[in-house]
Point group: C2
Chain length 201, copies 2
Amino acid sequence: MKKDAQTKLIETATLLFAQKGFNAVSIRELARTANVNSALISYYFGGKDGLYQEVLEEQFILIAQMLERFEESPPSSPTEAIITYANNISAIHGQRPYLTRFILSELMNPTPCCEAVVKKYISCIFDFLHTIFKEGVAKGEFKAGLDYDFATISLAGIMNFFFIAKPIFQGFTSLEKTGEEYTAQALDTFLNGILRRKDHE
Amino acid sequence: MKKDAQTKLIETATLLFAQKGFNAVSIRELARTANVNSALISYYFGGKDGLYQEVLEEQFILIAQMLERFEESPPSSPTEAIITYANNISAIHGQRPYLTRFILSELMNPTPCCEAVVKKYISCIFDFLHTIFKEGVAKGEFKAGLDYDFATISLAGIMNFFFIAKPIFQGFTSLEKTGEEYTAQALDTFLNGILRRKDHE
DNA sequence: GTCTATATTGCGATAGAC
DNA sequence: GTCTATCGCAATATAGAC
């Protein structure tokens, strides 16, 4: 099946922007890789920035759907919510392997799209997790005194860092674990760390 | 005290490269910001790449010193080693607030310096932590079955993510905690998660 | 819708005056 | 050691033919 220029551009741009960053990719390289005339980038997307924004928005579709699902059917408990959230994020990483790269690129060197696209979703996730941790402490499921900001950033950190570090760590270790196995173990450790325990050894 | 052009260029470059990334900073902008003639960048550093490499190497000096100290006086136990390591990293982040940005930028979009500078240090840290986790499991301090790769990446993730996420999270939460407070709590949670426990609740 | 050709801007680097 | 001036090149964007 032959794809039209528009689709091929989006696909190629996703790959190239993810691998090299927005500034390091020229529309010439993009067009060449996609086997498409470079003038079509302006024709379809109004320029390089427009194409990038389209790519970026596409990356967040699954996140948006996840947040909708949580709104429709709220989890039964905070611990349950964290587990479901982690499983969802893990699955999303499988389908959008470059999502973390796009987010981190934007966090570190924001493009004009950052405010409109990235911050919007990050802020929703932040609020979502924040509420869960608050409830978890209130209900006695999580350690008393747990800082909500801290817990949120910490969970985000361990759920995402693997996908950034993977390429470099593969240089000096076999790293046979998959992303799913990693996130499962990371979540386990994290929950182990924040759950309230009856003992005080 | 008036600084010479060379020093001012390094300082300005550190700031600009960290905030915008290598590709997004031009030598003209750099020279303008540093109040220095742009030709001096070639004169002193042999070009933009040379200046960047100088900046990058400077970022890792404290890491190198930390690793030397560990070689000279090894910690008494794996748990002790992790705690000391975390405290050191936390202190280094205080003195090199952009270190994480440089590392992550390189991890995601490697420049030619990456192989020579970044990978070298990352690989040393990786080996160091890997050995500690191995010893910790062998001595029964850490959970049996703990995956060393996983534990290493996980610890790196929680120790670093805060410093990347900070700028954006400050947009929608007060985030009054300092980096030191964050890393202390992150380490606590992490150790809590990996330490062997006598109970099995 | 897709192409060529080109306008315009900005880049990094350097030669040469001082 | 610092400056000006400029070279050569690659960038994005667009006008206009087909």
